[in-house]
Amino acid sequence: MRFGVVLERLAQLIPVLFGVCLVVFLMVTLTPGDPVEIMLGNERSTPEQAEELRRQMGLHLPPHERFFAFIGNAVTGDFGRSFFHRRPVIEVIAERLPATLELTIVAMTIALGLAIPLGILAALKRGSWLDRVATMVSLAGVSMPGFWFGIMLIMLFAVHLGWMPVSGRVDYALEVPRLTGMILFDSLAHGRFDTFRDALHHILMPALTLGLAMSALLMRVTRASMIEVLQQDYILFAEAKGIGRARLILRHGLRNALIPTVTVAALETGYLLGGNTIVETVFGWPGLARVIVEGIFSRDYPLVQAGVLVIALIYVGVNFVADLLYTLINPRVKL
């Protein structure tokens, strides 16, 4: 029965995926100007070369045929060749994606690790100085531009104090053979703890920059839903059973308060994925989000198009999983 639900949700996903592909396709197609001319730009080129490029990109076809060709190619992972990197776009993405995922996962861990305990505490001590400070700090957190906060961190801890590396993922001398491309994971898999420690050192500031604003937001959600839950009758009834305070707060309170938090956390991965463009730029993190920005400056449209599509697909996927998780932790949703 549960499997049926998964299938049903997957079916609902198809129109959204189709729409996402269409929007990404239109982004390039509806843009005024001939992409070929823009791409060739200042380079001296003959009309024959331009025609060849146009044919290569399928631009001679009518738009709807181009769209279906685009989807067909996308399904097989063929996004064309990157002009700047001079190799298939899919290779560039496969190389850069793990760095973005690693950063996103660590940032999310930091965000949840700070937000949930602080949100619970603020809700339990509602109106106390701790609640007020936490609320103020979280408001400051969402008001802080991430790129500025990152630069200030670099200026203080890397440039002036020299405690932290300015940029990069790991020291060149400590690189490990690639398994997943996520260095924290790969180094542990190889038993290289020195590399792990160095990678952790590198990822700390970018992940904090990305995670803090997110945790400010999640804290507010956790606090609000925890306050709501603590006023419910079932908390009073559970307390009347004489169970311990920790169990009361975690099993009866948090378990129910987490339901909205998970939903918001999934929605806010969009914030993390977008914020990656900023953080990867500021911290010289060789991830996919930065490649998209670079692709824009090098007019590498196939790469930009594919990069935006891949990130949107990840985002849709995360929300899909969160939706399933939501049905699992919330038994009231009819299965």
Binding site: G19, V20, A140, V142, S143, F147, G270
Partner: protein
């Protein structure tokens, strides 16, 4: 029609009561005043700024703020790598932030309100189409979507506004759709419908006035987010182009001088932070005044 007269009076007074409650929250009112201060600063930038923001002088290159040795009170916050006065550039930069913020929020609210009212009130095929489009747009992380669009459309302040509005309207649309779905079940809407009012009349004259409060809260919160998004795009070099001063691009300019001239990045960032924080505080005050359940 008495039903309408009564209910409009009711709706206005709810908004008025809420706003008065907001006024009593001194902290939030102060934040609102600071935000308005920024608006005044932007409006009168040419008269308030001590210098021309693009007036460069290489003799003043990387000149520190006035209170640091080598500074000069004529250039209180110091100068950038081209010797331009930072304070004047920040004062002028407020124009870009606020112009984009206001334009995006207004345009998105207009489009989103129309779409949300239509979807929530007319239901059926209209709702299905609008909701699908919203679902698809929600499938994109905001900044990635804007970056993609800016990459295709090219830089410039109008393009920033467009790139953000293309996604922003979905937020107002969802709020309004939800409120409309709730409102159309209410007695006064039923009464108006029974009295033979047209759908357009009911949507704009009956329902809209009653959902102004949530719309106002959403609009202020979104304004804060949009100002950060504009700054982020400009920071990445996809926003306004030089010599126009934008806070985001000013922070980016300072990155190359982190070691010797921290102020170039620091001050524009503080300006963003202050403006966004004051908007957020005011917005929180509005929310508390409208819905006091979660007040600390």
């Amino acid at each position: 029609m008495t039903v309408r007269a009564l209910d409009n009076a009711g709706a206005e007074s709810i908004l008025a009561i809420n706003l008065r409650r907001f006024g009593r929250d001194r902290f939030a009112a102060m934040a609102g005043a600071i935000a308005i201060g920024f608006v005044v600063m932007a409006a009168f930038a040419p008269w308030l700024a001590p210098h021309d923001p693009s007036d460069s002088d290489l003799l003043r290159r990387l000149q520190p703020p006035a209170w640091i040795e080598g500074g000069d009170w004529a250039f209180p916050l110091g100068c950038d790598s081209l010797g331009r006065d930072l304070l004047s550039r920040i004062v002028h930069g407020a124009r870009v932030s606020l112009m984009v913020g206001v334009a995006v929020v207004l345009l998105a609210a207009a489009v989103g309100t129309a779409a949300g009212l239509a979807a929530g009130f007319l239901r059926g095929a209209v709702d299905a189409v609008i909701s699908r489009v919203v679902d698809v747009l929600l499938g994109f992380p905001y900044l990635i979507f804007a970056i993609g669009l800016m990459g295709m459309m090219g830089p410039g302040i109008e393009n920033i506004v467009l790139a953000l509005v293309y996604k922003e309207w979905t937020i107002a649309c969802r709020v309004i759709r939800g409120e409309t779905l709730a409102a159309r079940e209410l007695d006064y809407v039923e009464a108006a419908r029974a009295a033979g009012a047209s759908p357009a009349h009911i949507m704009f004259r009956e329902i809209l006035p009653n959902i102004l409060s949530p719309l106002l809260v959403v609009a202020t919160t979104r304004m804060a987010t949009i100002i950060i998004l504009e700054a982020s795009l400009s920071f990445l070099g996809l926003g306004v182009q030089p010599p126009m001063a934008s806070w985001g691009s000013m922070v980016a300019d300072g990155r190359s001088y982190m070691l010797e001239a921290w102020w170039i990045s620091a001050f524009p960032g503080i300006a963003i932070f202050l403006l966004v924080l004051s908007i957020n505080l005011a917005s929180q005050g509005l929310r508390d005044a409208f819905d006091p359940r979660y007040r600390p």
